[in-house]
């Protein structure tokens, strides 16, 4: 009985998922697309929870729907005059793509079926679950992210860092939101501290329960973004140089820890057992700060600048003219 209930829930939710995906990818209106995409992100969070992936549910709700949503909404303000786009792709092209997509789906489904057939269904799971106690943390996902596959996470921080470098290089300071409605200000005034505290909690709890640096960092960023939406000059809290330090501290602490462990234990990022818990927490704390700084800057679209200074980024490099 319960199984049937669950199955009908699954089928219902997947129908909504496919519908939202289809609508998001087929709309010709940017506002509509963004709204649908945020809804799609929220539904994903539900699906992660259903598939017993609470870490992902948390991350998706904060990052996938929250931060992406904020970024998209901000970008959309540039599109006020041009909301609907006509496209003149040929009918022949569209049908070609349709047929190819259908064929690809059938092919993929056939491949997935065979893959599931030949799999033992255990994969790396048991190995990870057995070894987790040796990793310094008891939450398996954190063990994978910060110990077994810590190098992936290091490079992932490098990806975030790279994206922010580009945002900073491209960015000129955006027009700010004006002072918000009094009720919004009042709400944010008590919401922001809660978010900041929750972020600290997520960081700490990551060792033995869902949570960790990425969720915590994104939560912290969300607090700053909310504050900036109500007209608080978040960027004036920190100067240029301390912002730079905040951006690099995550990767810096991570890499230096890795090198020290290389010198002591002979392998990059091979934590000494008795230090593992502390080192992971240290790395995660540093990463949280960097991620928060990065996402906040990505939202603001530029480095904090003294207000009277001219924007040298706008200047076009005269040495390099277009060559196409």
């Amino acid at each position: 009985m319960n199984d049937w209930l669950l199955l009908s829930f699954d089928i219902l939710i997947l129908f909504i998922l496919l519908g939202l995906a289809w609508l998001t990818c087929n709309t010709k209106e940017i506002k509509r697309g963004v709204t649908l995409f945020v809804a799609f992100g929220l539904l994903l969070a539900v699906i992660w929870a259903r598939l017993k992936a609470p870490d992902l549910a948390l991350a998706e709700a904060i990052i996938g729907a929250g931060i992406s949503g904020a970024l998209l909404l901000k970008a959309m303000r540039d599109y006020t005059e041009q909301t609907s786009l006509s496209s003149e792709t040929s009918r022949f092209y569209v049908w070609g793509i349709n047929a190819a997509s259908l064929a690809l789906f059938v092919l993929l489904a056939w491949g997935l079926w065979h893959a599931l057939e030949r799999s033992d269904g255990v994969r790396l799971a048991e190995n990870v679950l057995i070894t987790t106690p040796e990793s310094g943390v008891s939450h398996p996902v954190t063990a994978v992210l910060l110990n077994f596959r810590a190098y992936d996470t290091l490079l992932e921080l490098a990806v975030v860092f790279t994206a922010v470098l580009v945002v900073l290089a491209m960015g000129t300071k955006q027009r700010d939101f004006g002072k918000g409605e009094p009720i919004l200000i009042a709400m944010v005034r008590w919401l922001a501290p809660i978010l900041i505290v929750t972020s600290g909690y997520l960081l700490w709890v990551g060792a033995h329960a869902p949570g960790g640096a990425f969720q915590a960092g994104a939560m912290l960023a969300a607090a700053f973004i909310l504050m900036s939406m109500t007209g608080v000059r978040v960027d004036s809290m920190l100067n240029d140089s301390s912002m730079r330090w905040l951006l690099v501290i995550g990767i810096g602490v991570f890499t230096i820890t890795g090198i020290v462990m290389l010198l002591i234990n002979g392998h990059f990022l091979a934590y000494s057992k008795e230090l593992a818990k502390m080192l992971i927490l240290l790395i995660e704390a540093a990463a949280t700060l960097s991620i928060a700084a990065a996402l906040t800057l990505a939202y603001l679209g530029g480095m904090p600048k003294p207000q009277q200074k001219t924007q040298s980024a706008v200047k076009i490099d005269k040495t390099e003219e277009g060559t196409s």
């Binding site: 490079l155 890795g258 990059f268 091979a270």
Partner: protein, 485 residues
């Protein structure tokens, strides 16, 4: 001990240098140059280590049995890593003179060094998902660097490049998902021992290859490359053409012949060869017709990458062993020669563009007198791109032709001959204009730091690789896991 862990230092040094160059923007150039030279030394140590004791592995975090990520370096990756570090160091010297605006410089170095991290990490990675992360890091940093030109065409090309890059990585990632579903492993060496010729593996390989083909701009997926490579700042164009597209080709070769060898189909490899042949002809033809120097160089990249794909059906036709290794060594020789020659060509184009104020080929008259060294470098690069002796590509193409004869696939010879003729055409066209009668260009002086790096790269392509190829043959036979697989 430092020597034994060279591969870790090769990743850690540019990574830390990138961070430092952001925190200390005024010292960015010094930090980047110091980091590059240290990296270059480490890469030489790495080759020495591989030459002495064969392929090396480094278990990150000390975890075994596929739990952690493993770095693996054999002859092929070691040579690609040295190539990367040499190009990056020379282009770095050039870039320190190219960017005159301190603000631009401060934006350039951290991104540039992140691209170096991504290149090395990709070449050393022994893990499927880790490869996806390195591909994304490489894609994003390359896009950012392209956009640094700061004009409309460059930013537009960067956006398109980003879309293409993401598409490629996601298709690749879908392949990884299928592999993990079926086999439950991500480690390449472990996968190589369990993978079988069955639908899931075949489809996964097809997806990963397709993703990488988009990124390596194989005809007809090359449409995004000319705009991005021609509009990026000159040092960036050099790295994009010489290194960034090439590591995707490297990865295809690695996956095909090292990991998925039981799965391979001769038909698929023949198809890749055909696309490569079309790329050679189409790219060379477009290069011949291009009106601007940098666009010509970008189309030439499309063509030169085509040769690398012609190797795939030829390598497949040889049984595992010395003959196959010889073919792979020839592949390496051609890939390396192109990297050095093309980066030299792009750097020289940058000098011409900055000194003459334009790079329209028809109006290059007088440049040979005004910038003799730069034009000499272009000529040297031309020798390597056409495949004249003593360049590395002469030997590379010679082996390409002889293995085509050996395996009875003579039709590739027609393509190689055509490509070389067309390459001669587009290179001599430039030299013809450069030596032509004086036009607008007045008396100009290029700084040594702009011209010397390009000269070193061009000499490496034409002389060093030509004479050093015998050693490379030995090296590949000694230190290739392909030999024992």
């Amino acid at each position: 001990m430092m020597i034994n862990d060279a591969i870790v230092w090769l990743i850690a040094i540019p990574l830390l240098a990138s961070l430092l160059s952001l925190v200390f923007p005024k010292k960015g150039t010094a930090i980047a140059i110091a980091g590059s030279i240290l990296g270059l030394l480490a890469s030489v140590a790495l080759v020495y280590q591989v030459y002495q004791s064969g392929p090396i592995t480094h278990e990150l975090g000390g975890w075994k049995d596929g739990l952690g990520i493993v770095l693996r370096v054999d002859a092929m990756s070691a040579l690609f890593i040295v190539m990367t570090m040499l190009v990056v160091t020379m282009v770095g010297f050039y870039a320190s003179a190219y960017f005159t605006d301190a603000h631009k410089k401060a934006q350039f170095w951290p991104l540039w060094l992140m691209m170096v991290v991504a290149l090395i990490a990709l070449l050393a990675s022994g893990d499927l998902f880790n490869l996806y992360v390195t591909l994304e890091l490489l894609g994003l940093s390359a896009v950012g660097l392209t956009a640094l030109s700061d004009n409309r065409a460059a930013v537009q090309a960067a956006i398109r490049y980003l879309g293409i890059g993401l598409l490629g990585s996601l298709v690749f990632l879908m392949g990884v998902a299928l592999i993990y579903t079926a086999y439950g492993v991500l480690d390449l060496a472990m996968l190589a021992t369990v993978v079988e010729a069955e639908p899931a593996a075949q489809l996964a390989l097809a997806l990963m290859t397709a993703g990488l083909l988009i990124k390596s701009a194989l005809f007809p997926m090359h449409f995004w490359l000319p705009a991005a490579h021609a509009n990026a700042p000159a040092p960036v164009s050099a790295a994009l053409s010489a290194l960034v597209v090439k590591v995707s080709v490297y990865l295809i070769i690695r996956l095909w012949f090292d990991v998925f060898s039981p799965v391979l189909q001769p038909t698929a490899s023949f198809m890749l060869g055909v696309l490569g042949a079309l790329a050679v002809v189409w790219g060379s033809w477009q290069a011949l017709r291009a009106e601007r120097l940098k666009l010509m160089a970008a189309y030439s990249t499309v063509a030169q990458l085509g040769y690398l794909f012609i190797f795939i059906p030829l390598v497949m036709a040889f049984p595992v062993g010395e003959e196959r290794n010889t073919a792979l060594a020839a592949f390496l020789l051609l890939a390396l020669t192109h990297a050095f020659a093309k980066s030299a060509l792009f750097l020289s184009s940058g000098v011409v563009l900055q000194r003459a104020g334009h790079d329209r080929i028809a109006e290059l008259g007088g440049t040979a007198r005004a910038l003799p060294l730069t034009i000499f470098v272009i000529a040297l690069a031309g020798v390597a791109l056409i495949g004249l002796p003593p360049s590395g590509s002469f030997l590379g193409k010679w082996y390409l032709i002889s293995s085509a004869v050996q395996t009875g696939q003579w039709w590739w010879i027609v393509v190689i001959a055509m490509g070389s003729l067309l390459a001669a055409g587009y290179m001599f066209r430039i030299l013809g204009h450069a030596f032509g009668p004086d036009e607008s260009i007045g008396k100009v002086m290029a700084k040594g730091s702009e011209e010397i790096p390009a000269l070193i790269l061009a000499l490496t392509a034409t002389v060093v690789l030509g004479f050093g190829s015998a050693w490379m043959w030995d090296f590949v036979n000694l230190a290739s896991p392909l030999a024992g697989n």
